[in-house]
Each structure stands twice: as structure tokens, then as C-alpha cells.
């Protein structure tokens, strides 16, 4: 690649990084407002108009709190835990395609941090690393509740990653590629009646979204931070911004999970009638401008999908009670994994007989 293109890509990465942080920040606000609305309340509305400065106030509060180190804690690991959770959460959004491409003159900018042909594998690897942040933090706290929470997080994530990976395999069998960009582009072909993957993979999607809830430690699978049993779970001993980083990492994970689901099952930056609209615009604006407009609309489309999923995550959180730990494990191992295997066989059969491709 030429240098200007690399420069543009660096800018895209920076923007994606900033957007992830911004969305995570406002997820905390959205969570509180949505929680309030679902419970017939109005939520935070004091800081700024409609309370939109609330995340800022929360951040100030967290930064000014006392940095507490429990006696007997491993100080280095105690600090390293939340850092690792945050870093891994932020890394995952790099390969997600937020848009097709913009063209200025001869420069083509892909609206994606990095285009790698193992995109999905990268997301899985990085997200799996996230559990180490929780493990290390829980271990370093020198507290039995933290340790129990960390152990729960580890076993839960490992159990649900299996089912999640198998649900993904069914998608990969159809796409034949791990690149998220390729998977997105395959979900829409010009001049053809083409469906998003959700239509071809309904069972896979249900498995994937259930596992996504478990992977991000969200209700009904928030056993690692189960207040009723474990005080605060793995972040019992954490205070100040170290606590904030853990909470932040959770929201970034929710954002990444929503983005991955939008890309894998809901067509990513595709939206209905985009090619018709492009051809229509091309008549008056020229092909390049038309494509740029479609790309920008695609970015809007992908973010609408992502925000819908984030809303769904919060909606479920304030609806469902927490699973019991044995129920969680039974659901993961005896229902979701066999269902995922069945889904793989079903997909294989349908591909073999040419029903889907």
C-alpha cells in the first residue's frame, strides 16, 4: 500500500477507536435511561439537557475516588487486570467493517480499521483474551468473592465460546471466508434478490446471540458479578477508575458483540435497495459520488443495526432475572452445543442439496 493510503487507514483506526470509546461512554447513560424507562421512571436528567453530560459526571466521580489496594493483593496484577480487559475490548473493533469504501480522486479508503483475511478468528481470539483481564483481576484481589467471580467468568466464557464458535462455523460454511468484509459483501449482490444471513441461519443466530450475552457477562448470564451471592464478583475490591475500566470494557464488549452480530447476520453496511439507489444517483451525480453517498448511508445503516442490538442487550437486562449457575452450565453444554452441531449438519445438508449457498 502507498503511504497516503496507510495514513488514511491510520485515521480510520483512530476514528473507530474514538467511536468505540464514545459509544461505551454513552452506553452507561443509555443503560440508565433505558432501565429507568422500562421501570416507569425518567432516569438521569440533571446534568445538562436530558442529562447528556451524565457520563462526564460519572467519569469525574470515578477519577476522584480513592485508589484502594486491598491488603495482600498483588499490586502489579491488580492494576494489570483492568488494563488487559480494556485493551482486549478495544482491539476487537479494529477489524469490523463499518462501511464499504470512500473514493476521493484515485484514493480509495476502506471504512475498516484493518482488512485481514482471518477477521472473525481475530475477533474471537481477542474477545477470548478478555476473560484473562477478569481472571487476573479476580486472582490479584486476594478475596474469595473476587476469585469465585473470576472462576465463574472463566468457565462460563469457555463453555459458551464453544457453542458460539460452532454457530459461527455454519455461517463460515456458507461464506467460505473468515474476512468480515467478504461476509458482508456476500450478503448483498447487485441485481439479485439476496437475503441477509439471518434468514439462512435463524438457529445459528439464536445460539450466537445467547452466547454473546454470556460472553459479555450481561444479564441473564452475569454470574461473574452476581451481587446477591458474590458481593460484586471479580470487581469486589476495585474502586476508582480501575473499576470504571472494567465497567467500560463490558460496554465496549457489548458494542463489539453488537457490531459482529450486525455484520454476520444482518448484512453489515448493506441496506435494502442500495444498488437501485446507487444507479439512480449515478445518473445525476456520477458513479463515484453515488458510491460515496451509498457508503455513508451504509455507515448509518450499520450503526442503526448496532444501536438496535445494544438496546436489545439493555432491554433484556432489565427484563430477565439471572440464571442459576447450574442452569447456565446445563443450557450451555446440553442444549446450545448439541443445537449448534445440529445446525452445522443442517446447514451442510442444505448446502449439499443446493437450497442455500
Amino acid at each position: 500500500m502507498e503511504l497516503p493510503v496507510l495514513g488514511w487507514q491510520a485515521l480510520v483506526i483512530l476514528v473507530v477507536f474514538g467511536i468505540s470509546l464514545l459509544i461505551a461512554t454513552y452506553s452507561t447513560y443509555a443503560e440508565r435511561v433505558i432501565a429507568a424507562f422500562l421501570q416507569d421512571r425518567v432516569g438521569p436528567d440533571r446534568a445538562g439537557p436530558f442529562g447528556i453530560l451524565q457520563p462526564l459526571a460519572d467519569a469525574v466521580k470515578l477519577f476522584t475516588k480513592e485508589e484502594f489496594f486491598p491488603a495482600g493483593a498483588n499490586r502489579a496484577l491488580f492494576v494489570f487486570g483492568p488494563c488487559l480487559a480494556m485493551v482486549t475490548a478495544l482491539m476487537a473493533s479494529a477489524v469490523i467493517p463499518f462501511g464499504n469504501y470512500l473514493q476521493f480522486g484515485t484514493t480509495i479508503i476502506h471504512l475498516q480499521g484493518i482488512e485481514v483475511n482471518i477477521g472473525m478468528l481475530y475477533v474471537f481470539g481477542v474477545v477470548s483474551l478478555g476473560v484473562y483481564g477478569i481472571m487476573i483481576g479476580g486472582w490479584a484481589s486476594n478475596n474469595k468473592f473476587s476469585l469465585l467471580g473470576a472462576i465463574r467468568a472463566a468457565s462460563q466464557n469457555i463453555s459458551y465460546e464453544l457453542a458460539m464458535g460452532m454457530a459461527l462455523i455454519a455461517v463460515l460454511m456458507m461464506s467460505g471466508t473468515l474476512s468480515l468484509r467478504e461476509i458482508t459483501l456476500q450478503q448483498s449482490v447487485p441485481g439479485e434478490w439476496h437475503f441477509w444471513n439471518i434468514v439462512k441461519q435463524p438457529i445459528g443466530f439464536i445460539i450466537f446471540i445467547v452466547c454473546a450475552f454470556a460472553e459479555t457477562n450481561r444479564t441473564p448470564f452475569d454470574l461473574p458479578e452476581c451481587e446477591t451471592e458474590l458481593v460484586g464478583g471479580y470487581h469486589t475490591e476495585y474502586s476508582s477508575m480501575k473499576m470504571g475500566l472494567y465497567l467500560f470494557a463490558e460496554y465496549i464488549n457489548v458494542f463489539v458483540a453488537s457490531a459482529v452480530m450486525s455484520v454476520l447476520y444482518f448484512g453489515g453496511f448493506n441496506f435494502p435497495f442500495q444498488y437501485e439507489l446507487r444507479d439512480f444517483l449515478a445518473q445525476s451525480q456520477g458513479a463515484v459520488t453515488a458510491q460515496n453517498i451509498i457508503t455513508i448511508l451504509g455507515v448509518v445503516a450499520v450503526f442503526i443495526k448496532i444501536f438496535s442490538f445494544i438496546f436489545f442487550f439493555m432491554w433484556v437486562r432489565w427484563t430477565l432475572p439471572r440464571f442459576r449457575y447450574d442452569q447456565l452450565m446445563r443450557l450451555g453444554w446440553t442444549i446450545l452445543i448439541p443445537l449448534a452441531i445440529f445446525n452445522i449438519i443442517l446447514t451442510g445438508g442444505l448446502i449439499l442439496f443446493g437450497v442455500i449457498q
Binding site: 416507569d40 421512571r41 436528567d45 432491554w315 433484556v316
Partner: protein, 191 residues
């Protein structure tokens, strides 16, 4: 054992059906319920900006009324202090001097009149006891919170209503027809 009431429900432990075991129908049912609440009217009011309407018979902060010519009605008879079950009212009576006829309605008046709002239970017995229609509990004003205890002892400076008729409390004046309607329906209801 003999059942105490006939409301006991016989429950059977049946094995769950497939739909129940799959969780999903129940989950969507729950989600639809919470979504209904998402769009429903909120129970919260944004307090300092909005306030809930008071009942027309609400008994709030006391006021010492003036008559039509702006003279203080209170004659310091002490019936309110006697009637007060919380012993919140103290007063010192004084004789009206010559030339003060425009200030005080009767020949005797209250030199000081204090109500301790921490003792007061807002029962309204002082209002009922008053033969001169001088003390009233306002329906539209509450005793506000304070930082110091002595700030709760209200003297005449804070109790006597202002001379300007516009700034006076509405309590003690005829109820509006709507308020009277609300009040009569409320009183008609059996306790």
C-alpha cells in the same frame, strides 16, 4: 387438615412442555411486557420544576391573616395555643396604643406570636379554635426544610401575611367551584 379458606389453589407438578423448556416464548412475553412499560407514562415527576397538585384541604404552613383594611386580625386570646396538642404556639399579648388602629383590628394584639414548626403536627386545631379567623393553614405552601433548628421557630415576621392583597395566600378565601366539587365528592366517600 381443614382448609381455612376456599382460596387455596391445588397445584400440580407437571413436566414442562417443549415451549416452556425452550425459554424463548416466555422470554419474548417478558420482553413485550417491559417494552409496554418503556412507552407508558412515567410515574416520576421532575420535582423542582413540576410539583404535584395539593388537595384543597391540605394543611400546610400557617399564616396570620389580615382583615379587609389590612389590619391584623389576631387578638392574642391564646385559644389556638390552648387548642394546640403539640404545644407549638406561644404568644405575648399587648395593648393597642393610640394611632395604631390601622395596624391592629382589636384593642388587644399579639406583640409576638411564634409557632415552632418542629413541634407542629399540622392538625389544624388552631385554625378551628380561632374566634377571629386569624390563623389559617395554607393549602398551597409547606414548611420548607432548614439547616438550623432555631430557623423552624416562625415569628410574626414570617407568619403575618403581606399587606399587598396580591401576595396573600388563597387559603381562607372561598373555594373555587371545581375545588368545592372535589372536596364534596371526597367527603361523600365512606371512610
Amino acid at each position: 387438615m381443614q382448609p381455612l379458606s376456599n382460596r387455596a389453589k391445588k397445584l400440580e407438578k407437571k413436566p414442562m412442555t417443549l415451549a416452556e423448556r425452550a425459554y424463548l416464548p416466555a422470554i419474548f412475553q417478558g420482553l413485550s411486557i417491559t417494552l409496554r412499560h418503556f412507552f407508558s407514562k412515567k410515574a416520576t415527576i421532575r420535582y423542582p420544576e413540576e410539583t404535584r397538585p395539593f388537595s384543597p384541604v391540605f394543611r400546610g404552613l400557617h399564616v396570620l391573616k389580615r382583615d379587609e383594611q389590612g389590619r391584623e386580625r389576631c387578638t392574642a386570646c391564646g385559644l389556638c395555643a390552648v387548642a394546640c396538642p403539640a404545644e407549638a404556639i406561644t404568644m405575648v399579648a399587648g395593648e393597642r396604643k393610640k394611632g395604631e388602629e390601622g395596624l391592629y383590628r382589636e384593642e388587644k394584639y399579639a406583640v409576638s406570636y411564634e409557632i415552632n414548626m418542629l413541634r407542629c403536627i399540622f392538625c389544624g386545631l388552631c385554625e378551628e379554635a380561632c374566634p377571629k379567623a386569624a390563623v389559617y393553614l395554607q393549602a398551597d405552601k409547606m414548611a420548607p426544610p432548614r439547616f438550623e433548628r432555631d430557623e423552624f421557630i416562625y415569628g410574626k415576621d414570617r407568619l403575618v401575611e403581606p399587606v399587598a392583597p396580591d401576595a396573600r395566600s388563597k387559603r381562607g378565601i372561598q373555594l373555587t367551584p371545581e375545588q368545592a366539587q372535589v372536596l364534596s365528592t371526597k367527603l361523600a366517600q365512606p371512610a
